[in-house]
């Protein structure tokens, strides 16, 4: 079937959607050609949908005429989740009608797709409740985007990731039907668990229009410590021993020497620049319990030869500790304008080995590679800082990225802990899943989306594609 021309397509769309929400000029198209990852793909047009009926209309039309559609929230994705790799329609969901309701009795939040994630945090906390998933982009990203990318942030260790909190969805399928999955009950074993299938599906199986989200009571208080180590192995041992001692911190963050130096160069705050690693540990819960727990964490750090352990005495000191962690991203971009941010994840016992492997990769390819991340759940963020205009270096980056993925999988880990597969990691899928495992996933995609119109080019490798190509 011949694809209609863009003009014909626009005429069809404008029968249902007012033309101020159908964007077609070059400036608008370029403005929806990127996300926070690496890559630029120009869509043919952008449609801003406000209702589920409009989403359904667009997708039905696209399905009939075989036109690719890419759902997009705030485009904070680090894996290329919303990029228009095959041209077609960019479906902007950021302007979708906003609806947020907290159901206190049932400990639930009901949110439409365009609600900003931090608005859910705020609304829940106003009534003493808590929505733990907290990606660092939470004050920008939409809940719809978070759900489709299954992005979670530092609290995964104790509270689990986004998929543990989404219990019901309203979804427009790739053929344009509006369906509901799951519901308002925490227990639900009716048929296949389509909710879980859609969470993290990166917009390839449907466009989320509304979500039912589980909330939990807000922890009463929290305590935070910062420990420095002159051996990476010891910091890793401290982490695993704290967990083995029966304490489940709400966050355990790690920064390597390169990050420490970068932060100190950026905004000096007294971090030990000679340390090989620092870790930040936070516990939350009942007041009396957390005092005992943080003391025990300090004790374990000292047992593994921490060179210094500092427990924050008040909110100001706590804020100072977290500031050094938050400064990592801005600090490291001073090293190079192009930032390739990975989220290879390993079983937490393998963190020291993974760190060593990353250090070898850094030496081998002579790259600015720094590591930080959520050590408690094994979700590391190796970041390569480069300049995409330096073609020779970019080629070395491609090799290094491949080796990072291979290393994570060899250690029993996974390609992605929270950023998703998108375009960058698709070539490595069979490495983790095996050919048959990947084929089962592909069969699901084909069953849901027989014409491959919804967010094509993501998750699954193109034919013959075996490694990432950045340039």
């Amino acid at each position: 079937m011949n694809r209609p021309s863009t003009d014909e397509l626009i005429n069809l769309i404008e029968q249902e959607i007012p033309k101020e929400r159908v964007l077609r000029n070059l400036a608008d198209r370029y403005s929806y050609s990127y996300d926070a990852s690496f890559g630029e793909y120009l869509p043919d047009l952008v449609v801003q949908a406000l209702t589920k009926e409009e989403v359904s209309f667009i997708i039905k039309l696209a399905n009939e005429h075989r036109i690719p559609v890419y759902p997009r929230g705030s485009a904070t994705s680090l894996s290329g989740g919303s990029l228009a790799v095959n041209g077609g329609i960019m479906l902007d969901m950021s302007q979708f009608e906003k609806k947020l309701m907290i159901d206190q009795e049932n400990l639930l939040a009901i949110a439409s797709a365009s609600v900003i994630t931090s608005e859910i945090h705020e609304a829940a906390e106003n009534v003493g409740l808590f929505y733990p998933p907290d990606p660092s982009s939470s004050h920008v990203s939409t809940i719809g985007g978070n759900i489709l990318e299954n992005s979670s942030g530092p609290k995964g260790l104790k509270y689990g990731t986004t998929k543990e909190y989404v219990i019901g969805l309203e979804v427009v399928t790739p053929t344009g039907e509006i369906i509901r999955t799951g519901g308002k009950t925490v227990k639900n074993v009716t048929g296949y668990d389509l909710t879980r299938l859609i969470v993290g599906s990166e917009g390839t199986l449907g466009v989320v229009t509304e979500a039912i989200i589980r909330l939990i009571p807000k922890p009463e208080d929290r305590k935070t410590l910062l420990a420095s180590f002159d051996s990476l192995i010891n910091s890793g041992k401290a982490i695993t021993n704290i967990l083995a001692s029966g304490i489940l911190p709400s966050a355990m963050e790690l920064m390597d020497n390169a990050c420490i130096v970068a932060v100190e160069n950026y905004i000096p705050s007294g971090l030990p620049i000679e340390a090989e690693a620092i870790i930040i540990i936070e516990v939350d819960g009942h007041k009396s319990a957390i005092q005992e727990e943080i003391d025990k964490c300090a004790e374990v750090c000292e047992r593994f030869n921490a060179t210094s352990v500092k427990v924050a005495k008040n909110e100001l000191e706590r804020e100072q500790i977290w500031k050094s962690r938050r400064m990592v991203s801005p600090a490291i971009t001073q090293i190079g304008p192009t930032k390739i941010s990975e989220d290879a994840t390993v079983p937490r016992s393998k963190i020291p080995e993974m760190m060593e492997k990353l250090s070898e990769i850094r030496e081998k390819y002579k790259l600015n590679l720094v590591v930080f991340g959520h050590a408690g759940d094994g979700n590391l963020h190796p970041n390569i800082l480069t300049d995409k205009r330096n073609i020779e270096e970019m080629k070395r980056v491609e090799e290094a990225v491949s080796e990072i993925f291979e290393a994570a999988i060899e250690l029993g880990g996974t390609l992605s802990g929270e950023h998703g597969i998108g375009t960058l990691k698709a070539p490595y899928m069979s490495l983790e899943l095996g050919e048959d495992g990947l084929m089962m996933m592909q069969k699901i995609k084909e069953a849901w989306d027989p014409n491959n119109i919804l967010n094509p080019g993501k998750i699954f490798p193109q034919e013959g594609q075996t490694k990432v190509v950045l340039i």
């Binding site: 400036a27 403005s31 990127y34 904070t76 902007d92 982009s137 304008p337």
Partner: protein, 442 residues
């Protein structure tokens, strides 16, 4: 030159001026929630991340500087809230300035016929704002117009509104101009009351000098009453912000140099201004003159000595208050004071110190009111959409006074009060008017 060559020439210039800075953007989107035009227009092209990307695309020659880049840049308020929100310190102001500069140059070179409003604007930039006497004369006309009752007649007949809707609406929001006989003089020293604590120069600005000279006079008297001697530099001129916003780099530099010289002659501690927008421009003369080595030290020294009046007043412990203020006061930040000069607390501290007043912070006071230089005249509808949203938050505070620290913002808030129909319960004032009145200065 062929059209293609012209295109390449300007995209190359844009590349040279802005590409490295634009390339620093990691497109994380952290600037989206603080951008007033993104929030009201809901379009990525009207967001900082979008605009930086478009500058990059234009510099790479993928889009046209006039057809594709001009409109999104024109619709930017230049409030620079995005700079404060940016986790990697992308210098948005520099990118924005470079884009405006190249757009203006290309427009001139390609001789696209200027519209009537372009022509009027150019005439004003060249012949009105830098000429303080002409502008003062205009101010005097306005005084005449208001005091003879002519304004009442035109307002009742809506004659100005028929010519231009924005002009008509602003005309109604204009504060009452003070009689020309009450004007302070250039070159004059105004002695401190009591023991002299310091001596400063005062920057009168152009619009402030012409139509809000009362606020300038009150600023001077207030400083005097706080023990500060004030000099009005003889040769001081317009700060150049309006020229800079229109991409007129050479004209801006010329004004900057004149101001630096006028200040240097005096050898005083600070140059104090009371307009957030002018202050921001003065604050960045070092950047403006960065490529002129012979001006480097002079510009740095000038910038070091520039202060907003609230910074100086907030340091004074014993402001000589004489009267109680009635009612709730809320504050709308001047973006250029907050985001460029980093002055956030001093105005709030001052307002909280006014005896009898209750200070209530309004939601989103940090978001731009959409006055943005002359943005509200050039992009009236877009600006009003942002303003109307702002007024909802202002009204919620139950304030009887909205305070600002910049003439553009002041006019805008007064217009907001008119538009939302709360004129009988609410007034818009400059911070100096509030403090001065509480100190018994009329």
């Amino acid at each position: 030159m062929k059209t293609d060559d012209i295109d390449t020439k300007y995209s190359e210039k844009l590349y040279e001026l802005s590409y490295d800075a634009a390339n620093m953007c990691v497109q994380c989107g952290y600037c989206l929630p603080v951008c007033p035009t993104y929030l009201t227009m809901g379009n990525e092209a009207q967001s900082p991340r979008g605009r930086i990307n478009l500058v990059k695309m234009a510099a790479e020659g993928k889009i046209d500087i006039i057809n594709d880049l001009k409109e999104p840049m024109d619709l930017c308020l230049g409030c620079r809230a995005c700079e404060v929100a940016c986790p990697v310190n992308v210098p948005y102001g520099d990118i924005y300035g470079a884009a405006l500069n190249v757009i203006a140059e290309k427009e001139k070179a390609t001789k696209s016929p200027p519209t009537m409003s372009d022509k009027l604007l150019q005439t004003m930039l060249k012949n009105l704002f830098p000429k303080k006497n002409r502008l003062r004369t205009a101010g005097s006309f306005l005084w005449f117009y208001q005091s003879t009752g002519l304004s009442k007649i035109t307002q009742n007949t809506k004659i100005v509104e028929m010519v231009s809707k924005p002009m008509g609406q602003f005309e109604r929001a204009l504060p009452k101009v003070e009689s020309p006989t009450k004007r302070y003089k250039f070159g004059e020293h105004y002695k401190a009351v009591g023991e002299r604590k310091m001596i400063v120069a005062f920057f009168p600005g152009c619009i402030m000098d012409a139509v809000m000279s009362k606020i300038n006079r009150q600023s001077i008297e207030l400083l005097q009453k706080c023990g500060i001697e004030v000099v009005i530099p003889q040769n001081i001129t317009c700060c150049g912000a309006l020229h800079s916003h229109q991409g007129e780099v050479d004209a801006t530099k010329k004004l900057a140099k004149q101001n630096i010289e006028a200040f240097e002659e005096l050898g005083v501690t600070y140059l104090i201004n009371n307009a957030g927008g002018c202050g921001a421009m003065l604050h960045e003369y070092d950047k403006l003159l960065a490529d002129e080595p012979e001006w480097k030290n002079r510009a740095n020294k000038f910038v070091d000595r520039s202060r907003d009046i609230t910074e100086v007043l907030a340091e004074i412990d014993d402001i000589p208050y004489e009267k109680e203020w009635q009612g709730v006061i809320t504050y709308q930040d001047s973006c250029h004071l907050r985001n460029v000069q980093g002055v956030v607390d001093p105005p709030r501290k001052l307002l909280k110190s006014v005896p009898g007043a209750t200070f209530v912070e309004m939601k989103n006071s940090h978001l731009c009111c959409a006055s943005g230089g002359i943005y509200n005249l050039l992009n009236f509808e877009e600006s009003m959409e942002i303003l109307d949203e702002k007024m909802l938050h202002a009204i919620k505070t139950e304030a009887s006074t909205i305070v600002t620290t910049n003439p553009g913002c002041l006019l805008q808030m007064r217009l907001g009060i008119e538009r939302s129909g709360v004129k009988n319960n609410m007034q818009g004032l400059h911070l100096i008017e509030v403090i001065a009145e509480a100190c018994g200065i009329n």
